[in-house]
Point group: C2
Chain length 473, copies 2
């Protein structure tokens, strides 16, 4: 090496040293500030979401779009210069909606066309549809009292309304999700010929909202078709039934369940510099329902999770532990991706200390909920003041995310990003879950908030958070 090159090489080393020193000297406050700035001025999440939503679209498990989403996100992760990117094979169910559903009911003077959609997993109606009288209930749990004499041969209409007074809309959703999932199986026991479930939506409009349903151990020949009806049409039908209980409802659906097909979880990793065998993961689910483009559920979580690893790199963070982004397949109608990831992690004896999921929409982040023991929670809660400048105040114990649930054990902290929930169920599982309803800044604030938490977990771990000097209130 000649002198000139030596000098250059020494200067380069000096610059590297200074850069690494300056990063180490940065307070946590400064690191977070830089992460938020990077995300808001130089984020990639919105651009990725635009592609996933508008170039690909709805990504139901087993569909061509789901396959395209696997290939696209893998290719994008490969561009980030991670240490590893790979596909984890998983067999997933393949349910197909078929032709658009049709439904109407006749009153004395009018033919009332209504908006329905098949619930995911439903059987089709027989050729020509189902036409029958309707019995309205508030819950499938009312069916036992009514008994076969009131139900047999009829369509059960479960018209359970949304509890608008609950500020956390996920609580309201929880209050009617069982109606959608179990209604048909229960109604079939009493001889019903179909079920129509009021959409699980926080507003009155014309969109039917799909979602998963199941028949449990009901024999195949006893299964009856189940549809969601828009909230406006649920109100209309209920009013019509008050005037004439003998109204007949007609609906047609051509959905179909195929054999399971091969699909994939998409995984990227920055291998830890000190503890490569300790894993911290962040993820969302790559599949979505088919009616919209799945921008909020869960395109947002996917692109935010991808951006966590990119933002760490952009911010000059060299993680001590291995950081993985996991884009899970098949959350919506099977959870096969989440189960597969946990199964493989167990087989390989990989020590996972923390998992974060974003699956509550791409809205302004309000905080996190943590599924862990009190000691771990109190350690994490000490980081809350670092998030105050970003108007985050919600650090509570609670659920995390469906996909990371199978990882649960006594040593792992599971966490869920908690965005503002007011708008989520206007769009959830409906044709209006689309890209234009995602705000760029809200999405990017979520990505930054997730990155900030991942940085702190990596820096302090979940067991040994004692350095209170660096965590100022």
């Amino acid at each position: 090496m000649n002198n000139y090159l030596k000098t250059i090489s020494r200067i380069a080393l000096l610059i590297c040293f200074c850069l690494s020193f300056s990063l180490k000297a940065q307070s946590d406050e400064d690191v977070l500030k830089n992460i938020y700035k990077q995300s808001l001025t130089n984020g990639k999440s919105y651009e990725w979401l635009d592609y996933l939503s508008n170039k690909i679209g709805g990504r139901l498990s087993g569909s061509t779009n789901a396959e395209l989403a696997v290939q696209y996100t893998k290719a994008e992760l490969e561009k980030l210069g991670l240490d590893k990117v790979w596909l984890q094979p998983v067999m997933v169910p393949k349910w197909v909606r078929g032709e658009q559903e049709m439904a109407y009911f006749k009153t004395s003077n009018d033919l009332n066309k209504v908006n329905i959609c098949a619930l995911g997993g439903s059987v089709a109606t027989p050729e020509g549809g189902v036409k029958a009288k309707v019995i309205e209930v508030n819950s499938y749990q009312d069916l036992e009292k009514l008994g076969e004499e009131n139900i047999k041969g009829k369509i059960v209409f479960i018209n359970r309304s949304w509890e608008q007074e609950l500020v956390n809309t996920f609580q309201a959703y929880g209050g009617c999700a069982a109606e959608r999932y179990a209604g048909a199986a229960e109604a079939a026991k009493y001889g019903a010929v179909g079920t129509i479930v009021r959409s699980l939506s926080s507003r009155l409009d014309d969109y039917p909202h799909t979602g998963s349903m199941g028949y449990g151990d009901l024999p195949v020949e006893q299964r009856i078709p189940s549809a969601a009806i828009s909230t406006n049409d649920a109100v209309k039908l209920s009013e019509a039934l008050k005037k004439d209980k003998d109204i007949e409802f007609h609906f047609e659906m051509s959905c179909q369940q195929f054999d399971d097909v091969m699909s994939y979880n998409v995984i990227g990793e920055i291998t830890g510099s000190e503890f490569p065998n300790e894993y911290i993961i962040v993820g969302g689910h790559l599949d979505s329902w088919d009616l919209g483009d799945g921008a909020h559920d869960d395109g947002a979580g996917v692109v935010q999770s991808m951006d966590v690893l990119r933002l760490m790199k952009e911010s000059g963070i060299t993680p001590k532990r291995s950081i993985r982004v996991v884009l899970f397949m098949n959350e919506e109608n099977g959870l096969r991706g989440g189960r597969k990831y946990a199964e493989v992690a167990k087989e390989k004896n990989e020590k996972h200390i923390f998992a974060l999921e974003s699956d509550a929409g791409g809205f302004t982040p309000r905080g996190f909920s943590f599924d862990c023991n009190d000691l771990m929670f109190s350690k994490i809660e000490a980081w809350r003041p670092l998030f105050k400048p970003y108007l985050i105040h919600y650090f509570e114990k609670g659920g995390s995310g469906a996909d990371i649930g199978p990882l649960k054990n006594d040593d792992i902290v599971l966490a869920g990003l908690r965005p503002d929930s007011q708008r989520y169920f206007d769009h959830h599982h409906a044709a209006n879950d689309t890209f234009e309803h995602v705000n760029k800044r809200e999405l990017e604030l979520g990505a930054a908030t997730m990155t900030a938490l991942m940085f702190l977990v990596d820096k302090y771990g979940t067991e040994t958070i004692t350095n209170t000097k660096e965590i100022k209130d």
Copy 2:
């Protein structure tokens, strides 16, 4: 009175007694819970906003729409059974946009049409428009350095970009508002023939955002036309200027300033049961810019403020002090309504102890900012735990609202509702400030949050908040 009537009357009295007792026995927590429930299940704000936005539309001071909004809100307040509803006359400026503005610039191969709009208060271009070379600056403060030799005869293009990294978007707005307001007056001093100001917007899109500008004491004959350009077109123009600094920009505007006209603040009152001469007011501004329908700015604040009085009545709250809703006219281009209200209050020696304004959009409420002394603030801050169940955590000292500003003195607390600010400046003063971008639940949560604060201020006053037993942390 016969025995039957006596019995009925005794039962009625007993019911009244029990109801009043049960309300008095209610904890503050219970009162707030009921207020939020009323707003979310039985609110009127969204319905009123639908009318203001879709049946009336943009409500610039002095326009027919502004007059319609005065008559509509007065009539709606009269339906609420308040103690008084009246109009407070105020002279307001009348500026009219005229025909839609037009602008383009030519590059070597292309004619580039761009989206502009006149800033409120601007003079028109001469017949046939203004056509001139362009000088780009980051701020009007750069003009002095450039001097007349670089500016004379040119159009000054103030291309100051938005600070995306600021989480509070109002800070970013504050960072460029002076460019819009004062740019033209400053450029005219150096012989510019027009100004084009980059829209004060948090995103890149095709909407120009209007807003007020002023010429100060610049003689009428020296005034030059000033327009906002969409952010996308600002980027395009800037890039073109980098390639060719001699590009000519052409724009035409036919806006016009007329003589002042008579308009009104709309006021409704529930007269206090114990201290009728102490006033607590809540309000928003009834006027809006003309491009959209003014749903967020400030239709939301208007209907939320109206609903505060309705929700108090619906919740069985009998205020001790006089509660007023004030719908101010002419916040956008004159603040005449706010000044008039304060002037009359002073003339009549009305003791105002608290004023709350909602003028930051109908988004999920995050808290309030308070303009008052430290002692008053510490008393108010003790109420914060009551708002925690509604995910409100932001109680800070800071600004309040433009319309209530003129009431400022040492004895009054001024407060501003602080909704989530991420989306506000996507819509602010632009054609996309429209009803469909307001979420019903978010709007209603704001109305409830305002009602809750007004209830506490009325119950405890701002000077004598000592009953800590009722305020649990």
